[in-house]
C-alpha cells in the first residue's frame, strides 16, 4: 500500500498526509480500512491511488466508511477546492494539540509516532468529515476506537470550525453527528483534572444529576429540597406510597365485586360517571365506550344491567367480610356518591337523548 503511494506522480500534500495518516493510524485498527480504501478504487473506474485523489475527499471517506454507492455520485467536485482551501491552517495546530491534550481520550493521542502527523492528518480527516453528508461514525459503531477517533476529530472540528469556510449544511451535519454519537463530548474545565478516569466519572455524575433533576420534577414536593439523600428519601416515600395505594385499591375492588369479571359494560358506564367526578379521563373512557355502544338501543340494556346489579346486592350479604368492607367505604363515599349519582343520572339522560 505504501508502494502505491510511492508510485504516484502527483505528490500533493494530500498524498503525503495520507501516507502519514496510514502509518499513524496503523495502531488504531485503520489498516484494514486503509487497505480497503486503496483497493477500492479498483471497483471504481480508476485503478490506482491517483484515481482516489481525483475523487473528492468526501467520497474517499465514503469508501472508507460506508458502502453506499449513490452517495459517491452525489458528492460534487467543488468540494475538492473547499478541501484544499481549508487544508492549510498551520495556526490551528496549536489549538489542535491543546485539544489533543484535553480531550477525553487523550491517552491515545500521546503516541510519539503521531505527535507530528496526527494534527495534520486529523485536520484532514476533520475536513473530510465536515463535508461528508452522511454520518460515517454511525456505521462504525461496533468499533469503539474508531468512535473515539471521530470524537477527537469532532473536538478538533469544533476548534477549527470558525477558521474554515464551511457550508451551513456541513455545520448542521456535524452538530447532528454529535447528537447521534453515543459518546458525549466532555471538555475539561479550568482547574480540573484531565485524566480520563476523572473525566469519565464527571460525565457519569452529570448524567446522574440530569436524571435526578427529572425525578425531582416528577415527584411532588422535591423541587425545594437540595441534596441527593433527601431527594432520594422523598422518591422512596413516593414509590412506597404508590405501591401501597395499589394494594389498597385492589383490595377495595376485590371487596366491592364478588365476581372479578366486573360485567364490563356496566363497569365502563359507572367508570365514566366516576371519571366525570375525577376529571381524570377527560374523554378517555367515553370514546372507548361509544364504539361499543352501537346505537341507542344499548342504553336500555345498560339500565337493565344496572338494575340487575342492584338486585344482586342481597347476594353479597352472604359474605360477611364483604359487608364489613362495604359499609365503611360507603360511609366514606356517601359524600362523593351523591355527586356521582347526580352526574350518572345526568349521563343517563344524555344517553337517552
Amino acid at each position: 500500500m505504501e508502494s502505491n503511494a510511492g508510485t504516484t506522480e502527483t505528490r500533493s500534500n494530500l498524498t503525503a498526509s495520507d501516507g502519514g495518516e496510514v502509518t499513524a493510524f496503523e495502531s488504531l485498527q485503520f489498516t484494514d480500512k486503509i487497505h480497503r480504501l486503496i483497493l477500492a478504487p479498483t471497483t471504481d473506474n480508476a485503478s490506482s491511488f491517483t484515481a482516489l485523489l481525483e475523487l473528492p475527499p468526501p467520497q474517499a471517506v465514503e469508501l472508507l466508511h460506508s458502502p453506499d454507492s449513490p452517495k459517491l455520485i452525489a458528492a460534487s467536485p467543488p468540494n475538492v477546492e473547499v478541501f484544499e482551501g481549508s487544508f492549510r491552517f498551520p495556526s490551528n495546530t496549536g489549538l489542535i494539540e491543546r485539544d489533543a491534550r484535553f480531550s477525553v481520550f487523550s491517552g491515545e493521542a500521546n503516541n510519539s509516532n503521531e505527535k507530528r502527523n496526527s494534527p495534520e492528518s486529523k485536520n484532514v480527516i476533520a475536513n473530510l468529515e465536515k463535508n461528508v453528508k452522511t454520518e460515517p461514525a454511525e456505521t462504525e459503531s461496533s468499533q469503539p476506537t474508531v468512535e473515539k477517533r471521530s470524537i477527537k476529530r469532532k473536538n478538533r472540528e469544533n476548534k477549527v470550525k470558525g477558521s474554515t469556510k464551511k457550508s451551513k449544511t456541513a455545520a448542521n451535519e456535524s452538530s447532528e453527528d454529535a447528537e447521534k454519537l453515543p459518546y458525549v463530548h466532555v471538555r475539561a474545565r479550568r482547574g480540573q483534572a484531565t485524566d480520563s478516569h476523572s473525566l469519565a466519572e464527571r460525565a457519569r455524575r452529570e448524567k446522574i444529576n440530569a436524571r435526578m433533576k427529572l425525578l425531582q420534577e416528577l415527584v411532588p414536593g422535591c423541587n425545594k429540597i437540595s441534596g441527593t439523600a433527601l431527594v432520594l428519601d422523598e422518591i422512596i416515600n413516593h414509590v412506597q406510597s404508590l405501591q401501597r395505594q395499589v394494594e389498597f385499591l385492589s383490595m377495595k375492588l376485590a371487596a366491592v365485586n364478588p365476581r372479578i369479571d366486573f360485567n364490563l359494560d356496566s363497569v365502563f358506564t359507572s367508570e365514566s360517571g366516576g371519571s366525570l367526578m375525577d376529571s381524570n379521563f377527560p374523554s378517555l373512557v367515553m370514546p372507548a365506550m361509544w364504539p361499543e355502544v352501537q346505537g341507542n338501543g344499548h342504553t336500555q340494556q345498560y339500565q337493565h344491567q344496572w338494575h340487575l346489579d342492584a338486585l344482586q346486592q342481597p347476594v353479597w350479604g352472604r359474605e360477611e367480610v364483604c359487608n364489613n368492607y362495604i359499609t365503611p367505604e360507603n360511609s366514606l363515599l356517601t359524600y362523593d356518591s351523591s355527586a356521582n349519582s347526580a352526574t350518572l343520572q345526568a349521563n343517563q339522560l344524555k344517553m337517552e337523548l
Binding site: 436524571r211 427529572l214 383490595m251 366491592v256 365485586n257 372479578i260 381524570n280 378517555l284 346489579d309
Partner: protein, 190 residues
C-alpha cells in the same frame, strides 16, 4: 392529566381482558385471592404496556411467570405471542441473578479489605461529611433498588431512569383503579 390517556387506555384494555380470563378459571374465590388476582393482573397489564422496553417491566413479568400458579394468568394476559419471549426472559433473569451473585461476592471481598484498611486509617482521622453523604446516598439507593422490580441488576443511571418510568406507570395504575373503585362503589351503594 398529562398526555397519558393512550397509556391509560391500553392499560385498561389489557387489565380488563386479563381479569375476564382470570374469572373463567375460578368461580369462587375468597377476598384475598381475588385481591391477589386483581393486583397481579393489574401489574402484569401495566408491565405489558411497556412491551418489555424497560427493565422493571421485564423483571415484573418474569417474576410473575415464575410461580406455577400464576403462570396461566400471565400467559393469558400477555397473549400467545409472548410465550416465545418468556423462556428468554427467564434465562435472562437467571443469568442476571448469577451475575448479581458474583457481584455481591466481589463486593463483600472488597468491603472486607477496605474495612480492614479503614479501621486502621480512619480511626485517627475524623469522618468527612462527603463520606457520610456518600454513605447515606448509598443506603438509600439500596432501598430504592429493593423497591423497584428488578432494581438490583441495574447500575445507578439505569436505576434512576427506571424509577421515572415506574413512577409514571404506578400513577396511571392508581388513577385507573381509583376511578374504577369509585364507580363500582357508587354502583354498590345504589
Amino acid at each position: 392529566m398529562r398526555p397519558h390517556s393512550s397509556l391509560k387506555q391500553e392499560f385498561v384494555k389489557k387489565w380488563m381482558a386479563g381479569l375476564q380470563r382470570c374469572s373463567f378459571s375460578n368461580k369462587n374465590m375468597s377476598i384475598l385471592e381475588r385481591k391477589k388476582a386483581i393486583k397481579l393482573s393489574a401489574d402484569v397489564a401495566m408491565a405489558s404496556v411497556r412491551n418489555s422496553t424497560t427493565c422493571w417491566s421485564r423483571a415484573l413479568i418474569s417474576s410473575a411467570s415464575k410461580d406455577g400458579s400464576d403462570n396461566h394468568l400471565v400467559e393469558q394476559i400477555l397473549g400467545p405471542e409472548t410465550e416465545s419471549n418468556r423462556p428468554a426472559m427467564a434465562n435472562k433473569a437467571q443469568t442476571r441473578r448469577a451475575s448479581v451473585c458474583k457481584k455481591i461476592v466481589k463486593r463483600s471481598r472488597r468491603i472486607r479489605r477496605r474495612g480492614r484498611r479503614k479501621c486502621v486509617a480512619a480511626a485517627p482521622a475524623k469522618a468527612l461529611t462527603s463520606t457520610i453523604a456518600k454513605h447515606l446516598v448509598r443506603k438509600r439507593t439500596q432501598v430504592l433498588k429493593s423497591l423497584i422490580p428488578g432494581g438490583e441488576f441495574m447500575n445507578e443511571i439505569c436505576l434512576i431512569e427506571e424509577t421515572l418510568d415506574y413512577i409514571t406507570s404506578l400513577r396511571i395504575q392508581v388513577d385507573v383503579m381509583r376511578s374504577l373503585a369509585a364507580g363500582a362503589s357508587v354502583r354498590a351503594s345504589e
